[in-house]
């Protein structure tokens, strides 16, 4: 067991080095000179240009820059944003809770709707209900979410005015962030209506970001359930006269959930990619939107740091899923 754990964790090291090379290498090869970008329509003298390049360390050979980068990285220093002159790690951490909050809500939304829908569809296989659930799930799975977000805004925010247009909470509420999660902070603040406002702001982004995972989870649950329902022990249980609810609810579901949980874990990357689009559409102050801004602004340290941290998060979540899976299924543990 310990060996399995250790080997999995050791495997992370080369991956992490790979990630650092990729995030460093890609970004440093980006066209467009950050110094010139800062100058905008105004022009620089060649001397001033050279001085700025030197100041920012862009004049040294690439490998030297990489080693310096790695060394600082190990000390937790991801560099300073060219735009705001604030440490990248600090910027990322201030914005990351917003992304986590949104992603968690989206996952919960997808699970709460997706698993029951998938189970029921499997139990009532071949019925109209099954077909409509699977049809809807496939539509969700095929959805261009950036368009979906715009449609929901047109309908609910613009036409019906049920939900706010953007942001995380109405501006009338002001409190210092404690956890960074607006839902929790609004409760802590004790201000009347703050929680409700935060929740209302979350509805549309949650639906948009949760749509694809919802489709995936519903489909996965249904097929896992079908497989389990066909297994001998379930048939036996049924033959023994146990009620369908008992069979499905206790015996089948428990076994069917293993692959579903894995699927959910593997959705983290997709979720973060979706967060980029969702945050852009809803002006949600999270890391996805921040990355887009940083990329378009050639803010090298921010893009580097952001890529690295996001990939790191995906890597760690994948590891956890992997370990959980290994724990539940001994075959996998021994095979590796």
């Amino acid at each position: 067991m310990l060996r399995f754990l250790l080997s999995r964790i050791l495997l992370l090291i080369p991956t992490f080095i790979g990630i650092s090379i990729v995030s460093f290498g890609f970004i440093r090869m980006l066209p467009g000179d950050p110094v010139l970008l800062m100058a905008g329509e105004r022009s620089l003298t060649p001397e001033r240009h050279a001085a700025l390049l030197k100041l920012l360390g862009f004049d040294r050979p690439l490998w030297e820059q990489y080693l310096g980068y790695l060394w600082k990285l190990l000390q937790g220093d991801l560099g300073i944003s060219l735009k705001t002159k604030i440490p990248v790690a600090q910027e990322f951490l201030t914005l990351f809770p917003a992304t986590i909050e949104l992603s968690l809500c989206a996952v919960i939304f997808a699970i709460v709707l997706g698993i029951p829908a998938g189970v029921l569809a499997a139990v009532r296989r071949g019925t109209v209900f099954d077909h409509s659930v699977m049809g809807t799930a496939l539509i969700g799975f095929s959805m261009p979410i950036f368009w979906w977000g715009l449609l929901l805004i047109i309908l609910f925010s613009v036409t019906l005015q049920w939900t706010p247009v953007s942001g995380r909470i109405a501006l009338t509420y002001f409190f210092q962030p404690v956890t960074g999660f607006m839902l929790i902070d609004s409760l802590i603040s004790g201000q009347a209506g703050a929680f409700k406002s935060a929740a209302r702001h979350l509805i549309l982004p949650t639906i948009v970001l949760g749509t694809i995972p919802l489709g995936v989870i519903a489909r996965q649950t249904r097929s896992a359930m079908l497989e389990v329902l066909g297994d001998d022990y379930v048939r036996t249980a049924r033959a023994k006269g146990l009620s369908t609810v008992r069979v499905v609810g206790i015996h089948a579901l428990r076994n069917a959930l293993i692959p579903v949980i894995t699927t959910i874990g593997l959705q983290v990357g997709t979720l973060l990619a979706g967060a980029i689009l969702t945050e852009t559409i809803f002006s949600w102050p999270g890391v996805g939107k921040w990355m887009i801004d940083a990329i378009s602004r050639r803010d090298y340290p921010s893009v580097q740091g952001g890529l690295l941290l996001i990939a790191g998060v995906v890597m760690v979540v994948n590891l956890i899923v992997d370990l959980l899976y290994g724990l539940t299924d001994p075959r996998i543990r021994y095979r590796s």
């Binding site: 991956t15 539509i139 047109i154 890529l307």
Partner: protein
Amino acid sequence: MSDAVIVSDARKGGKMALLSEFWDYFSESRGAVAGLVVFVAVCLIAIFADAVAPYLPQEQYRDAFLKPPFWQEGADPRFILGTDAVGRDILSRLIYGSRYSLFIGVIVVTISMLLGVTIGLLTGFFRGAFDNAVMRVMDVFLSFPSLLLALVLVALLGPSLTNAMIAIALIQQPHYVRLTRAAVMSEMGKDYVTAARVAGVGNIRLMLVTILPNCMGPLIVQAALSFSDAILAAAALGFLGMGAQPPTPEWGTMLADAREYVTRAWWVVTMPGLAILITVLAINLMGDGLRDALDPRLRRS
């Protein structure tokens, strides 16, 4: 074991029988057939865009900015689905846009499949340190959210349709690598491979002629999946201004242009998205049908 069934079937009845059996299973699903019909229709529209489209996609009618579709008040009967902000016919742009989406799908699937299958075959066949190293590189690729990596790659290469396709293909190829590698590894232990080896078949021939055809099932399903993924990803890049550049009538790019009309001209926003959704949905329906028809395990259940 199940593969053996296919193989023996194929030997008995030849390829035609295999195909007709496949079709029998495929056509069992009404959804898959509907998907196929829509997909073929989109293909035909793309091929015959010049004949089908009422106007050229860049043609600007300066007397008709932002006209709504025909059923709304104030519509211009010349433009069935209305016009955009510079007076271009939306229907024609959608029709020509189908060319880009299908083209993107075909190119991305071709590049990523060729690359991924080659790498997968090599790693699965030779194993060892080489395999290990390659798989670590693939892990690195898979650690980045695909869209983010594509965005950075496109920013690196410069925003254009070609670069968007290259970026998406690069991001999709690890999936083919993993699939092929796993399939190759499971096939390698089988009797027919050992038999072929004993008979003195060379490595390359063994890989391409003996093993590869037997891994085709999952690869075809993956191809359908990545076809629709590629269309979505390219549209997302276009939407973020990093894909095809205006005035190209690519659907995602049209959406990006349309964003500022959210409150005023819903059709400019709705139509391109609907086109993306319908196309992607059709391909995914087809993909589901393909999977069911190609995966004998599901067939029996």
